[in-house]
Symmetry: D2
Subunit: 345 residues, 4 copies
Amino acid sequence: MQKIKIGIIGATGYTGLELARILSGHPGVSIEIITSESYTGKKFSEIHPSLRGIVDDTLQSIKDLNKTPVDVVFLALPHGVSMNFVKEHGYDKYKVIDLSGDFRLPDAKVYKQWYGKDHVIPEAIQDAVFGLPELFGEEIKNAHLIANPGCYPTSCILPMAPLVKNNLIDANSLVFDSKSGVTGAGAKAKETTHFPNTNDNFKAYGLFSHRHTPEIQNVISTFSNAAANVLFTPHLLPLDRGILTTAYAVPTTAKSREEYKDCLATFYKNKPFVQVVDTPPAIKEVRGSNFCKLFVDFDERTNRVVTVSVIDNLVKGAAGQAVQNMNLACGLDESTGLMTPPLAP
Amino acid sequence: MQKIKIGIIGATGYTGLELARILSGHPGVSIEIITSESYTGKKFSEIHPSLRGIVDDTLQSIKDLNKTPVDVVFLALPHGVSMNFVKEHGYDKYKVIDLSGDFRLPDAKVYKQWYGKDHVIPEAIQDAVFGLPELFGEEIKNAHLIANPGCYPTSCILPMAPLVKNNLIDANSLVFDSKSGVTGAGAKAKETTHFPNTNDNFKAYGLFSHRHTPEIQNVISTFSNAAANVLFTPHLLPLDRGILTTAYAVPTTAKSREEYKDCLATFYKNKPFVQVVDTPPAIKEVRGSNFCKLFVDFDERTNRVVTVSVIDNLVKGAAGQAVQNMNLACGLDESTGLMTPPLAP
Amino acid sequence: MQKIKIGIIGATGYTGLELARILSGHPGVSIEIITSESYTGKKFSEIHPSLRGIVDDTLQSIKDLNKTPVDVVFLALPHGVSMNFVKEHGYDKYKVIDLSGDFRLPDAKVYKQWYGKDHVIPEAIQDAVFGLPELFGEEIKNAHLIANPGCYPTSCILPMAPLVKNNLIDANSLVFDSKSGVTGAGAKAKETTHFPNTNDNFKAYGLFSHRHTPEIQNVISTFSNAAANVLFTPHLLPLDRGILTTAYAVPTTAKSREEYKDCLATFYKNKPFVQVVDTPPAIKEVRGSNFCKLFVDFDERTNRVVTVSVIDNLVKGAAGQAVQNMNLACGLDESTGLMTPPLAP
Amino acid sequence: MQKIKIGIIGATGYTGLELARILSGHPGVSIEIITSESYTGKKFSEIHPSLRGIVDDTLQSIKDLNKTPVDVVFLALPHGVSMNFVKEHGYDKYKVIDLSGDFRLPDAKVYKQWYGKDHVIPEAIQDAVFGLPELFGEEIKNAHLIANPGCYPTSCILPMAPLVKNNLIDANSLVFDSKSGVTGAGAKAKETTHFPNTNDNFKAYGLFSHRHTPEIQNVISTFSNAAANVLFTPHLLPLDRGILTTAYAVPTTAKSREEYKDCLATFYKNKPFVQVVDTPPAIKEVRGSNFCKLFVDFDERTNRVVTVSVIDNLVKGAAGQAVQNMNLACGLDESTGLMTPPLAP
């Protein structure tokens, strides 16, 4: 079988690293080009020594992409930079999977509201498919531009979208209390990610203003019969990888854990990466893997539904999900190259 | 001035260690006896090498207490054991400050419901004062039996009780999402606290069933005009000390951050250990200290009030608060011996 | 091609877990039986939820091994228990790869001296091959009983054995200062591995008395022209996986970094898992992988050779190396199923 | 008694923070001025929120020092900047305690060799006293310029200087394998201290070239009868505070642990901050305190002496030791304001 030809645009961040790590073991692809404007000419493994002997490709410039035949391009670029790439290169010569936030929101107006800048190619937003395969698998198969979801939204939407869709909860009552590892803040050293500021520490940040809020809200509203306002609070955990989201909702009619669990179990029946489990899952159970574990419970005393979900923010929350999208968009089995077990402990 | 004579009953756990650490620097007390049934005859600092040269007292048996004149006894015992001590020794010869859960709930019936056993001295529950000095300072001054609050309840009640009292929020809408360090689980090695099970990991536990729930609910109901049902979800953080609680409520009339902040600032105006701050506080800002930092905000979009509070679970959540209670009960200034700054980073 | 039939004896520890994790992705094997006497009848993934959906085999008893045709048996048992298994079952029906310390030392006398007990099958010690493939690959190919090396010895021997063999250093001057993650202490909760005793902490232990000492010394002496006494100091790092060993030696004739580096580079030229690198490697660069990175330098001022080596103690230090040994002993390419990249960050 | 008037020059780093934390509880001092050129006009506690309510002084400029009468000035400045301060301000108007490396080495030549720049006030080097109170207490009492030792040197010199002085070990055989927490790298975010690069990680750095090497070597040589070359290898631990140094030496005549232990115990008999202990100490036993714990052992098999020492790098390794020096230089008891117990766990 012919291998799918891959380009990775942006090599120095964590999503670039993870794409390389995952794709290096994928049986159906060949990495044709990895770009970095700041490290052009260096080996990938000089920047990321953990992949020494595995991904030793020389980093090229984005300009070299035109000379390189590729089938799929992953954009591991900051938001704002991605949309410029799409504006310049389009998404007809190859499929584009964008890991930034540039094409995840419903329109340019909402984009401006949360990202504070004008979108440079608003018409592409309509073409973009939100790349959450368990919810939009069919659309992804035919997509040419895929907006890979944010890490937090993946962890928030997966447990709650089926409950909203089946009218088991009041979408407007949703509160997402999310806790993320530090890699979610990127590979660049900042004051907030300085080890002594993070180790043995824990804090909330971005209250009411985090850019993943409209992303969650948009998908939840899609599955609801009316626009929903959801509350999202991110926190920074003293660990590398992983997001755990505890979500709270007021139930509608159903009044037992079984009804909620059945709803999730049915919805995710044939989905290889979503596991509905019977005890609250821990972050480390999915570390390094593309799995998402979901737990749901109902409390009669306070009349609340609570879900707990865990993912690895760099895998199911970013690069793994991007490869899952690529598999679907290229006609491969969804799980090809992605069944690596979690690394625990 | 004559020193207050202290007994510490139970030396091997973290609360015993913290009581010794704090009281060793307290100018108004003298530790007369520290007991441990399992290590009788050993030096305290053999069990806790961090206090070598500081607390080298020989551990005695509880039986030696009768021969030792003391003014205040701290019970650093497991729940169930504390109430037996109180049954046997009473609380008239000396003031008793109990750090277990045995005297925190409103009555023996609720105790049995959440702790699964009969209370051995139900009449003492009525005499016990809930030792949260910022809320019950006057009662504490005259108390003979003080039920030192749980660590989680301290972090949940302090931000929300004033808002409930002033009718600014609907008490029945309260959701407490709490995250605690591992010392909250005690000094004894368990599977859940085995380093590789906790490091780089994060999980929820005790959903709907944690014993601190009725403690929170009882105090919140006291400040509310009606019985309130509150939802409490504890999580285990990969760090040693500290609790951060993110709490969510539906507002009643007030619709601005200022109104909520003013309510808290007024309530805690002359309280030396509660600081109302303008950015969400981090756990490490209070580590090793008796301080509690509170943050409150109002989100117009979702119509929610959110508070973030941090304490050190072993200090303001246990031993420090116990010493604060002792100060009040013995006529000292509330903050005597407790102004040690946090250790950060 | 026919799959190699595998038995894993001992499922509950970290080496059992890692064997299952690695072998689940190995293209040339089929796991026929996994045993656990304490959890017989339960699913493997109930004990190790990270492998849910990947290794869901029902745990059997060791007694079921006789009914199960296998080609290779991995013993993931404590020392003392392994030798009893070998005494009872032998190593002629299938190849045995033992991950305990029972067959690593030169004879029963040394075993008794360091392990404090009589060896139950001393004659098997002579048959056992020390399973360090980069040093004893040829012997391993024909071995029926393989003593998989200890984690510390792997990290100590790989950098220094080539230098000793080539007479570049004085073997008697060797000092190994090793630092290990907590998984090296096993899956069972102990006081020393209680999270608050380990987190943000660091200590030396087992000075002069650690059982890996004679293992290191025996192999170093084999490569030296005379018996060598080596000093080994283990330390406990506040992290899960990985060993870093800093080793010190007095040089003989060579007086430049290049000579030492060339020696290592030549020795490990065609070895897929050993990388000789130009800057001191970090533990995370090999986490989750079977790689070992080696660095060597020479200090003219103090006339010393220093090496720094890193491995993942559970992979190259245990289960990965065991699978590498299996590959060799079964005629497969050494690296089959083992090229999973490290998980970093 | 009149309070000693203090100036802290340099507020934003960890040593500035620790000086403020420690001095805020010191009964014999009053902080007259804290300076920061980058944050002039802000409150100290805005930069360091852990000291909110404790040190709320407004930060001033260095220029304001001339208008402020002080008895002692602490320089919490980077090396290179400190010597310029001393050149400009001298050390006759007030005593100067410098926490940088500018006055620790024997002369300007060695300074240039290791720090790569010319010393601007070489004559002051001769006036400076090396501020290790347990070794140079008498000189410190009369000093006007005190070079506060580096954190690593404190942990290396304390265990080995007495053994060298008493000719129990060969000074030229000394190898110091040191492991430090991340605060040793300063408060500024860097790539090496980015949380995901440090957490769950461990590495050696600065081999043969770390600037603390000549500082250790100089003091060891002072206590030896001949110039000694010592080998020093620093490593970066995934924790905030603390240094553990494992040191190796070849013994001369003494051949028992007792002889070595007696030597240390006698040497440090009346020193309040040095404890000679019987089991290898852990970093957390001294966290947040000015204590140093020392362990020594002798191995007959390999003929080596090994010491293990632990300190908090920010306290006994920096700010605490500086206050100890101030106490001595101002005629106070050495331990005034410094007996705060360690914070463990």
